[in-house]
Amino acid sequence: MNISTQIRQDVLIVRVEGELDMHVADEFRQRIDTALESGVRHVLLNLKGVTFVDSSGLGVILGRYKKVSAAGGRMLAANIRPQVARVFELSGLLKIIRTFGTEAEALNSL
């Protein structure tokens, strides 16, 4: 897994690459939580480079969603690959995290 983060106004953009499973779950969680400490409001996950996700990866995303929404922010996702989207859908996460084709579209929606 590779993660890079960028802050644009009150949005934390998280760009992830690789496979989101239990092996990387802790690091994935910590990287986002650390970046959240800088006091942004919303989170945009760019999942373009994510080739695999299972319930361990989804669990981290759901946890961050809860944190962000408890603080009044929104969580969005962009560039989800079709096979990853299916897993998101089955988990119910697509009902609470809006997805967009591109980062720009997601940012515009805020």
Partner: protein, 143 residues
């Protein structure tokens, strides 16, 4: 093309082996003429079963996981065994959203059930757990 095949694997409990098992399962499944979607489903189901053995079966304890992949005609079967903690109430464990770990989603068995055609769980507390999953695919051999 063989219509029967079987690979046995065994490895120590550890998160680094989840991806290896998943990749092996995908390569094994590629013997059949599957769609990318089918392969993805197999990878997720296998990932859940192995992760459960590591997380719930052994927790922080060391232990060995057995993983058997078999092909018989149009039926792909994956069996994951751990000799860990075991499950007290299998029916409850299989309920969507049920998890004994507050940090987890309780979706592992949901994914295994949705992505495979058969799922059978055997378990004995203190002895371990065996998860048997199978997927049937049209018998059109690849390559």
């Amino acid at each position: 093309m063989a219509s029967k095949n079987r690979i046995k694997m065994s490895f120590p409990s550890g998160s680094e082996n989840v991806a290896i098992a998943r990749v092996t399962a995908a390569a094994f499944a590629a013997q059949l003429d599957l769609t990318l979607n089918d392969i993805e489903e197999i990878k997720v189901a296998v990932s859940e079963a192995i992760s459960n053995a590591v997380i719930h079966g052994y927790g922080d304890q060391p232990g060995e996981i057995e993983f058997t992949l078999s092909l018989d005609g149009d039926r792909l079967e994956f069996v994951v065994t751990d000799y860990g903690k075991g499950i007290a109430d299998i029916e409850q464990a299989r309920q969507p959203s049920f998890s004994t770990d507050p940090e987890r989603m309780g979706l592992g068995f949901v994914f295994m059930e949705s992505f495979m055609d058969e799922l059978a769980v055997e378990s004995a507390v203190g002895k371990g757990t065996t998860v048997r999953m199978a997927k049937r695919v049209p018998a059109a051999p690849a390559h």
